[in-house]
Symmetry: D2
Subunit: 366 residues, 4 copies
């Protein structure tokens, strides 16, 4: 029986290591083995590598993955949408699995806050069988209950990985903090989540989208995704000038909706000033705990704001993201985010590329 290669993080900030795990030849009911075709390197992976979020080590990273079904456990004959599922099908899946039984899953219908939620590439120690629980590997083992999606032929693997977890995150965020058609929307940040937020805002009928971000090549992507105006935050460093530049685009009262996709805590203070009175602010990018800011809560009362948080996503948001990718235009745009490809054996170079933000999206191709 041959072994399966996987890239493992065994110590923070240390080089990733190639390891081999026993191949999986038998499955319990509802499980699957997928041969990985492409794995995205998400900004979160960089945070994990830097040790900014606690994970069990060693770990096979990778929560953005496309592959082909190699083995199907008993009873697993349909994907999440009810479409037939067979060996050889190209699939992706919701990276998290929830219990469906806890207070948040059941009573409050907030499954992303499930008390025992686990994510591939984030929550599983590679020392425990079946080991292969992340996308940076030749194969991945999917648990009973994983929301698997057969990818339509018309949607390329690059589009799915280019969209990554960012698109599902944005779909979920905008569900919680709705954009009405005709709204003016500001998106702070032009990383993957920012671009996805622009795309969702565009799709939801935003009348005008203004993007704040950097560097230049990301702003070009932002424009191509639908931003009518882009402001280079590296070019306009002074907060007041930046604010003036934004209000020049929105009119004097600011935007109906502002979506934070930056991650630096201080962005929240900048963003909240850009929302019109009575408007909505979606705090989507503060996924990691990056520390405190000096904040004036009077602003929330006085401006009569709605400030909304959103965490991760549910399978139905992946469903909606994939349906969006079935629109050729979006599929092409998201695919265009993928700029750098590495084999598993060059995972460290890939991680470094992603870390330096030189690239669009960096991916591993086992």
């Amino acid at each position: 029986m041959s072994n399966v290669k996987a890239v493992v993080l065994s110590a923070y900030e240390k080089p990733l290591e190639m390891r081999e795990y026993p191949d999986i030849t038998s499955l319990d009911a509802g499980e699957a083995v997928v041969r990985v075709e492409m794995a995205g390197i998400c900004g979160t992976d960089v945070h994990l590598w830097l040790g900014q979020l606690a994970v069990p080590l060693p770990i096979v990273l990778g929560h953005e993955t496309v592959g082909r079904i190699e083995l199907l456990g008993a009873g697993l004959d349909k994907d999440w949408r009810g479409a037939p599922l067979a060996v050889g099908d190209r699939v992706c899946w919701a990276s998290s699995l929830v219990c469906g039984e806890c207070y948040f899953c059941r009573v409050k219908r907030q499954p992303t806050r499930c008390t025992s939620r686990k994510a591939y590439g984030i929550s599983y120690c590679a020392d425990h069988g079946p080991h292969l629980r992340g996308g940076y590997a030749e194969k991945i083992h999917l648990r009973l209950g994983t929301a698997i999606f057969r990818i339509p032929e018309s949607v390329s693997t690059e589009a799915v990985i280019g969209a990554g977890c960012a698109l599902s995150t944005a779909v979920h965020g905008v569900e919680r903090c709705p954009i009405e058609w005709g709204d003016t929307v500001i998106v702070q940040g032009t990383g993957p989540v920012g671009l996805a937020a622009i795309a969702v805002a565009k799709q939801a009928g935003a009348a005008k989208i203004i993007a704040l971000g950097a560097p230049a090549h990301r702003l070009e992507l932002a424009s191509s995704f639908g931003a009518a105006a882009v402001i280079n935050v590296e070019g306009v460093i002074d907060i007041n000038s930046r604010r003036a530049a934004v209000l020049h685009e929105t009119g004097p009262y600011g935007a109906d909706v502002v979506i934070e996709c930056v991650g630096y805590p201080e962005a929240v203070n900048e963003g909240i000033e850009l929302v019109r009175d009575g408007g909505r602010y979606l705090v989507l990018g503060q996924y990691a705990n990056a520390g405190n800011i000096s904040f004036n809560p009077h602003t929330i009362t006085r401006k009569q704001l709605t400030v909304q948080g959103s965490w991760g996503f549910e399978p139905r948001h992946v469903d909606r993201a994939l349906r969006m990718l079935e629109i050729r235009e979006w599929s092409a745009k998201f695919a265009s985010e993928v700029t750098h490809r590495f084999p598993l054996s060059e995972a460290n170079a890939a991680m470094e590329t992603a870390r330096l933000h030189k690239a669009g999206k960096t991916v591993l191709i086992p």
Copy 2:
């Protein structure tokens, strides 16, 4: 022609002065003169006296007022609800007047953020005719367009003043941040806004209300208003102990809705920790700019919170507040808040009483 006495603030933190202004004997269309029966001293008045909010000086304070119609301008023959209005009727009114024409009034339907909103007792300089634009006076002059409400016989003047602007504020706040029947609700603060929030939460079907406040006599009021549990913040000073005491009442995940009615900025950090994941936080008490806190925006994303601000109120919230006071039980409870009565000539003693939080509600009776 006799003069009209009014209590005027002419310099911050200085004693209020009794002044006299010419009586008003003729009115333009839609205006009214009301003889004041009772004027509440609101916590905001104390802030104004301390100079914590900029107002034009000199000023006749007083935005919580009940009186009887003395003069009616042409065409003013119905109250806001369409009920006939006549000289001698006992009335109150929405303290603010909006333009109805600006971006916030018209396009965004956020009239409390009207760009030219003006409030009796807050926005008018007493040096300008007709001078009498506040409730700390024998008479008050109401502008065209003021939302006047004839008070039903069954609702006592004490009930209306006891409820004050706090009840309308709470009605508005809960409209923006809805309580579902069956929700667990925490109210931070047991001042007038806190008690009103408890009342509205109770009326809206909250299954359990927990109040955090002080001192003891306010907590007794909180219990009588419907709080099933009260926690004395002076008795439990340690934040962690306080949190434990609250979670003992709510269960381990916190409350569905937390309503901040404190005004100290730091209360926001305490309150936000008490909301269950996916819950709602209403920032209702940060009316004055009381400075910054050290705040972690990651909490909003991770807990998937809705943080909602609400500013002042509209006439329809006064309407709803008055309808609530038509329920005998509420009328009696709010009337019980009024504990200290002073004549106009003792306005300084009244202000001092209010400032030291010794009283329930302090009122002036001209």
Copy 3:
């Protein structure tokens, strides 16, 4: 091994028969056997007996049941809320089981419209093992996935059966067609669903509830449940007089919310006239297909109405219903609905009692 007695409907409109089925001594994982303490006869059971809804015959009727756990399958150690579950516990359960996988369960989150939903006492043929799938029996067998609720000590069996499926139905209906606190609400019908709707409206803060129903003893219940005014539809037969009587209570424009809990199709035309323009109409009682009415759709456009349907309920509505019954006042009121008790052997007399609407709630006590 002893047998288990069950009351079976084997032909529409024919007497129910007592049958015996083999006792169940072993269970698969997640299953349970419950010894029935009380089974409610729901209006729907009468419809089933009359053949107005197609069901598989023979059938053990009964979808409102309270009993004590006799056997627990492997892994079933917690109830739906996560509370520990043990042999001897008094329980009830959501009568329907959904697949959790179909388009309505997953993508649209409308599980009550699950394409393969099955209900105890309604969907299972008694000829197929394990036979015992209805409440009119000494024991009932619960499938894997049934949402079981341990009943708190403070809530009597009479309260749970008195509330029956009606309360969960009303909880769900009002979730879809929200009552804002302060709303005026009309409830059409004073059967179990009507009373439950009154209770939920009251709990949700309705300012005034008007009930239309009959006969007198049901109207007395309606008053005790919180209706401020009751109109005897047998006493006021003329539609226009009835409308006048209602508007006398609501004011000239009608009610903010009208809830139909009647079941006769013609009630919809009467009810829709009683909603104020821009108000909401909840069609909750048209559970059976009772035929067509002559209807003018112009009314919906002109009155700018929201007409809302609601079908059955989900486990979380049972959860909420039970929490409502933990309020002593509601528990007592719902228990008071139970007026007639019969042993299994007198099931035909019980059905007859229910059919003639002579009773409050009729129950079987095995």
Copy 4:
């Protein structure tokens, strides 16, 4: 002083007459006189001409009008949005004026149900001065409080009239019955309201729009407006075949949202069958009372539907409609609806053209 020509309906189904009224040379505060550039003939005008809606006779018809300001009363120096207003400006306006004071305007915020709402071209008898209260005339006199909009240069008069009252009606309807981005939407009817509904659905991010209508030239318009599939109701007369054709496009469960823009009452029965369970049905086209249908209310309960009515529109919907027309693509599409132009003197030929549905939009050019 010269006279002003106007086209008057003095008896139902009789030829329109050209009359002359005295010119208006002085105005009260807030009033305006507008020289008409183009007046649309709305389907409602045909209904009025046929006597299907009661109006005061004689009447100057015309509620879709664009013209240039000729006179401005004192104080009228800004349009509804606050933009400066001057003689010579090209403008349109909300056709209805509401009181702002009644129960529906104030308490319930349903101004389209204002108890004293009046519409230009519909509610004013031409015998009463100032006579000129409809668009089929050389000039129109606008009352104090009319919501006037200065038309941006980039938006052609044809676009505004092509959109007509239909676009504002659709904007309002979709506000009450929201389309979520990604929804599948069916539009019944391809008249002006149907096309506008397609446009709004498209703009709001509908994933797929299916239009049912006739004749062929309207279906071509529907396609150009964004319908991905069109079904010719004249070609597929059998209801079951039609349903099958629609479900072929939507999938087996029907659409998330169906918008009725037909006006024939029977369309409601067809449409309601096309909504998926748990979906929304907007009854937008039943503006006139066109009689009853045989209807089964059980459908609403069982399918768990939301059926929503919407009546007319408010100024803010006109605002939003105009902002939509600032998008070049929409402006061009709506302008393309205008196919037939007549001078005032040929108003009868114009009315006949509109009545026979031969045209796109028929307009009068004074």
